[in-house]
Subunit: 234 residues, 2 copies
DNA sequence: GTCTATATAATGATAGAC
DNA sequence: GTCTATCATTATATAGAC
């Protein structure tokens, strides 16, 4: 799915004048300036964070900065549309064959058709925007739903706190990627996608080890903690 | 350890004029303006991030903004001194009775004498500064050293990739806290310390479960992955 | 050592020409 | 619809008075 296909109100077919671009298959360069601006903004925000200036965004879209105000009214409104577009893309993005808490993220990172989506989401969370919180909560809900079916299917161990476990795995996984992003402040978007790929490769073995056996040699700490909170081990 | 005790060059005893504050026990309000400015900056940066203005910092220290230039030359130089002070404090901070990858962070969060240190570190990592990278690398080295002794002592399971495991645990743990921070953009420093406390309480059970048994019901995925990379399971 | 006032730079917002 | 030019705001850097 391309960004331009997201179900927002400004798809070219909706607001382009009738005498323009009647062609059904519209390459990205033929998008309306409005749609190009939004796509350029998503890429700039993903690449530089939300401090990217309107002039930078306009330059990337090949138009003037004044057009941003004309089409969106303000930088904030432009960002809101970007949030909405990426959120819609994330909601409709289906990953196939989920096998581990990390595989969904890995699939986003690998799939080029998701473009800057994953990095935009990381920036949103890092930035503390409401959209970032929405992404996190959505992913936690997904992880919880998946874990319930996976527990029933005998793939995952049951937990005494399934929601807490989902929160822990999602916040730590996303947070780990944010740290990777923060460790490379000057990296380009394309290069960071490669870094994400390497990160998933490099952490695959420790992750699978952790998810298979944990890190503790025995269950002493768990037993002690369960006694401490008055929940009998079983 | 208080911030003012960090081994930097501007401790009151070193650069305060001889005719001032000859008392041995110096309360924070009697620190030199330079030291007060640095401490105020650390708190402002922890509370608001590094976009905190020099005016805000000066106001918190009870002096004028021009004094920052007089003492430090620039905001960047002031920040460098803050980085150095927190890094020194972190290096010399010893946590006792390490029992899990999380307990060091939990102890920082609980111990009030560490003040804004942990949050400052989270902000540094989130911000992508070189100091943030230094914090991460230092923590990874610590975690690796600890894990080696803990494996020998039979507390932790051995790993096929001990350094990768240390990186994974540190980046995900720190990242998880950064996500918690990002989910509350408007929170005060004091309130966030309480949130950290609650976070450690809320994630204790899922964390210990994860670190004890992992999440997978069996070792299928690990065995498959080891076959895939040509490393015979054992 | 400390303050006030000002210079400079960057950015978002805005108005009007074409 | 699009551009150029300008304004307003904010933040840091700087200079000089006390």
């Amino acid at each position: 799915m391309r960004i331009a296909d997201a179900p927002t109100s400004d798809a070219p077919i909706d607001d382009a004048p009738a005498d323009e671009a009647p062609d059904a298959s519209i390459p990205p360069s033929d998008l309306t300036a409005r749609a190009r601006l939004r796509d350029a903004a998503i890429e700039c925000f993903a690449a530089e964070g939300f401090t990217a200036s309107v002039r930078t965004i306009a330059a990337r879209a090949g138009v003037s900065a004044g057009l941003i105000r004309h089409h969106f009214g303000s930088k904030e409104a432009l960002r809101a549309e970007c949030d909405e577009a990426v959120l819609a893309m994330h909601r409709t993005a289906k990953v196939e064959g989920l096998t581990s808490p990390l595989s969904a993220l890995a699939q986003y990172a690998e799939a080029d058709e998701y473009g800057a989506m994953l990095v935009y989401i990381l920036r949103s969370v890092q930035d503390g925007s409401p959209a970032g919180a929405a992404f996190i909560e959505h992913m936690i809900a997904d992880a919880l739903a998946y874990s319930e079916t996976a527990v029933d299917a005998g793939i995952l161990r049951p937990s005494r706190d399934p929601e807490g476990r989902a929160r822990l795995l999602v916040t730590n996984s996303i947070g780990g990627l944010i740290v990777q992003l923060s460790l490379r402040p000057e990296i380009s978007l394309a290069d960071f996608k490669a870094v994400l790929h390497e990160t998933f490769e490099a952490t695959a073995l420790p992750s699978i080890e952790l998810y298979t056996h944990g890190v503790f040699a025995d269950s002493t700490y768990l037993d002690q903690y369960l006694l401490y909170i008055g929940d009998p081990p079983g």
